[in-house]
């Protein structure tokens, strides 16, 4: 499809240090986003084997909740430090509310389905996503916020240091991307500590390797499921709150569908039940996204949806070559 000459051109284009540095940096920022949006999903999928179709709408709800806190209190928190502090308050609020919501959802809706075939959980969460999305749309219309377009008021609460492009060694570095990378690393570290240093982390790791054995050894699986589902949903909401500031994603009702499929891809490519796999897959998808975006923006390939196409190609390619995912164990999840 691409003539040889342009291949050489492309190679030369990426050898330019400025271009290479920018692509790598963009890739890192995108990787952080992909890891964040997949983190909640992978926790739930890893322990419970429930592929949560409501993941996307929960992300959108997180984005709007975070935006609500920011817009309401933005006037009283001015300056860079004040806004960023307020943002962390918003994250805590979103996490608390959505964790409670997720826990309630598990107890009332998901729990009755454990003795049914696993596909019923997909069906149920798919139904939940329809309901949540319509409820969200209704509430937004009630408050005269246009649901299908980006919520600009929330984006406007970005502090100056984040909106600006900084000059670092002659390279233009966006404040937002730095912020995303820092938060991505922080959240990854947080989840990692949760998995390796807490009781529930131990349950998750045990449960994802051999659920029945874990139960036989006295792990209260019911309680662990509720906590894990709650925490997973909470993290999902936090990811949504982070996306609210990014104009490429932004808070809108469509955020749900935009997030859902990439998150699936990252979780499946990484492998069931391994957070390490999710991180590696997120980084892979992030870099491929950055690289293919650069191919398009520098006019080497004239197909605007190249990044989107490649994300799904990665999914199909992985499932063909290594169905259990990059770090997945063959036995797990084979129903």
């Amino acid at each position: 499809m691409i003539p040889l000459v342009s291949l050489v051109d492309a190679a030369l284009h990426f050898l330019d240090p400025a271009v290479l540095a920018r692509v790598l940096f963009d890739g890192l920022a995108k990787a952080s986003i992909y890891v964040m949006i997949a983190a909640g999903l992978t926790l739930i999928f890893g322990l419970m084997g429930v592929l949560n179709f409501a993941h996307g709408s929960l992300t959108a709800i997180g984005a709007y909740l975070g935006g609500l806190v920011m817009v309401t209190f933005a006037a009283s928190a001015s300056g860079n430090v004040g806004r960023i502090a307020l943002f962390f308050v918003a994250i805590v609020v979103v996490f608390a509310l959505l964790t409670a919501f997720g826990g309630a959802m598990e107890v009332s809706l998901i729990r009755p389905l454990y003795d049914r075939p696993p596909l019923y959980q997909i069906l149920l969460t798919f139904g939940i996503t329809l309901v949540l999305e319509e409820l969200l749309r209704m509430i937004l219309l009630f408050y005269d916020i246009q649901p299908s377009t980006d919520w600009l008021a929330a984006q406007g609460t970005r502090p100056e240091v984040i909106s600006k492009t900084h000059d670092v060694f002659g390279l233009g570095v966006e404040g937002l991307e730095v912020f995303q990378i820092l938060l991505g690393v922080a959240i990854t570290a947080g989840v990692w500590l949760f998995l390796t240093r807490t009781r529930y982390g131990l349950y998750i790791r045990a449960g994802s390797e051999d659920g029945e054995m874990a139960q036989a050894l006295g792990v209260n699986v019911h309680q662990a499921f509720t906590v894990v589902f709650g925490v997973g949903v909470g993290i999902t909401g936090v990811a949504g709150a982070l996306l609210m500031w990014d104009s490429a994603w932004a808070a809108s009702i469509n955020l749900g569908a935009e997030v859902l499929l990439p998150a699936f891809v990252v979780v499946i490519v990484g492998g069931l039940g391994t957070f390490r796999g999710t991180v590696v897959a997120g980084v892979l998808v992030g870099f491929v996204d950055a690289f293919t975006t650069e191919l398009f923006t520098s006019d080497i390939v004239g197909f605007s949806a190249l990044p989107e196409l490649f994300i799904f190609l990665i999914l199909v390619g992985t499932l063909v070559l290594r169905p259990q995912g990059l770090f997945g164990v063959e036995e797990v999840g084979g129903h």
Binding site: P117, P118, Y120, L123, I128, V131, E134, L309, L319, G334
Partner: protein, 467 residues
């Protein structure tokens, strides 16, 4: 992966009067046959339930016209879906059936089923626009449907050869991945039209699409919202001769483009339904159910499960593409969002669960329910909203509930176009409490397939008759 059907799984293979499997019921039938009853009688009796359903759909346009013109016309117009809506129910119902054929019968959730629907839909329009090599833009619609189906079979075999190495959630995900690749591709490929993201419409073809016997003009009827044929049956002698005395014997039935499209699309869907039903009740269909119930055991007793799954997927893809072709044949335009997008398969899933997962006709009724509710809750086509507006009066509508929020605004926010919410709630309730769906539950209640039980009941009633 087994989608178990707690109530009717055991008797699923055991109650087909028309399938003639070795059961108590059909042993009964066999003895009857031995007493000299013609097999044709038996066959016809097996289809009594189908005859009722076909008669219902056949009379629907007349009933609709009659009821909406009657004294309770406003109420009837509110509840009954329009004929145009019923056409949507037909072609999308067929797509939902094809989805259920693979997902409900073999237990492999084909979440990327929209790939076939989109393929059929785009293929028809692209040929009509002269964008497909070797095929002229005037190729008959029926030929196009067949070719779209064959193309879908090829796609299904390609997808299946990769996807059937996986099971469960992974199968759902890889089919979804394939469908999304096609979706992204068709939303951005500028060969299709000037703005592929917004979809494409038929440009080149003036005479519309017709259903019937290809190459025989008199046996074809055009379908479409605007270009559809009209049809007059009977003769108006009074008008022809100018003699008023002939008025009592002058009866004509005139069908508008909507009605003609309704019958023609309905006819194709009916034929497809019988084909699917026939396959499900054949040994091949039994093998599909065996795979759903216990794939390892099915393999152990000697079925080549991979081939059965591939065959089922190919058949399912074929009918999915036919449904997509009917969709664009009627609508004459298509967008990636309403064809290749994964939520199209989600709608089929919705219809299947509500109608009955693992039943052939269930998805059609599920879709009827969905479309009916949707129309009930939108402004168009005489639903609840115009009715409320005409009945409640200005005073009630302008009553303030809270804080300047009037009743009219509440209706606008909570009811208008909110069918998605109520369908979603209903879907969740169905998954939790009615996992077999409408038809599946009815089947469990009757103790066998509806067609089979109706046949048995008819037989008991008319046992003494000499047919």
């Amino acid at each position: 992966m087994a989608i178990s059907e707690p109530t009717d799984a055991p008797d699923d293979g055991a109650t087909d009067a028309d399938g003639g499997t070795a059961t108590a019921d059909s042993a009964d039938v066999a003895s009857e046959t031995a007493t000299g009853e013609h097999y044709l009688v038996e066959y016809l009796r097996g289809h009594v339930a189908h005859a009722f359903v076909v008669a219902f759909f056949g009379l629907y346009p007349f009933a609709h016209t009659f009821l909406t013109g009657s004294l309770v016309g406003a109420e009837m117009a509110m509840f009954l879906p329009r004929v145009q809506t019923m056409i949507t129910v037909f072609y999308f119902g067929l797509f939902a059936m094809s989805f259920d054929f693979i997902s409900g019968y073999t237990g492999y959730l084909s979440f990327g089923h929209s790939a076939f629907y989109g393929l059929g839909a785009y293929f028809v329009i692209l040929v009509a626009n002269g964008k497909v090599p070797l095929l002229g833009s005037g190729t008959p619609f029926m030929v196009l449907l067949l070719l779209a189906g064959i193309l879908a079979v090829v796609l299904a075999l390609l997808m299946g050869s990769v996807a059937f190495r996986l099971t469960g959630v992974y199968f759902a995900m890889i089919t979804l991945g394939f469908a999304q690749i096609l979706y992204v591709f068709f939303s951005n490929w500028d060969y299709l039209g000037s703005n592929p993201r917004d979809g494409i419409a038929v440009l080149g073809r003036q005479d519309g699409f017709s259903i019937g016997v290809p190459y025989v003009d008199s046996l074809n009827m055009s379908i479409g919202q605007l270009q559809g044929d009209t049809f007059t049956w009977g003769m108006d002698f009074a008008a022809m001769t100018g003699i008023d005395a002939l008025a009592p014997i002058s009866h004509t039935i005139v069908l508008g483009p909507g009605e003609v499209s309704y019958y023609m699309v309905g006819l194709v869907v009916l034929v497809c339904y019988f084909m699917l039903q026939r396959i499900v009740h054949s040994p091949f269909g039994r093998a599909m159910i065996a795979i759903r119930e216990n794939e390892e055991r099915a393999r152990a007793v000697g079925y080549d499960t991979f081939r059965v799954k591939m065959g089922a997927f190919a058949i399912s893809g074929f009918f999915g593409a036919v449904a997509g072709g009917l969709f664009t044949g009627y609508r004459t335009s298509v967008a990636p969002e309403n064809s290749f997008y994964f939520l199209t398969a989600g709608d089929a899933l919705l219809a299947s669960i509500i109608g009955g997962f693992g039943t052939v006709a269930g998805p059609l009724f599920g879709r009827l329910f969905h479309e009916g509710l949707h129309e009930f809750l939108t402004k168009e086509g005489g639903g609840l909203l115009p009715y409320l507006r005409s009945q409640l009066g200005e005073g009630t509508l302008n009553t303030v509930i809270v804080d300047g929020f009037t009743v009219a605004e509440a209706i606008e926010v909570f009811l208008n176009g909110r069918a998605g919410l109520y369908i979603g709630l209903l879907f969740v309730l169905f998954v939790l409490y009615v996992p077999n769906g409408l038809l599946g539950t009815l089947r469990g209640y009757l103790g066998g397939t509806v067609a089979g039980q109706v046949a048995a009941a008819v037989k008991r009633r008319v046992r003494g008759w000499k047919l």
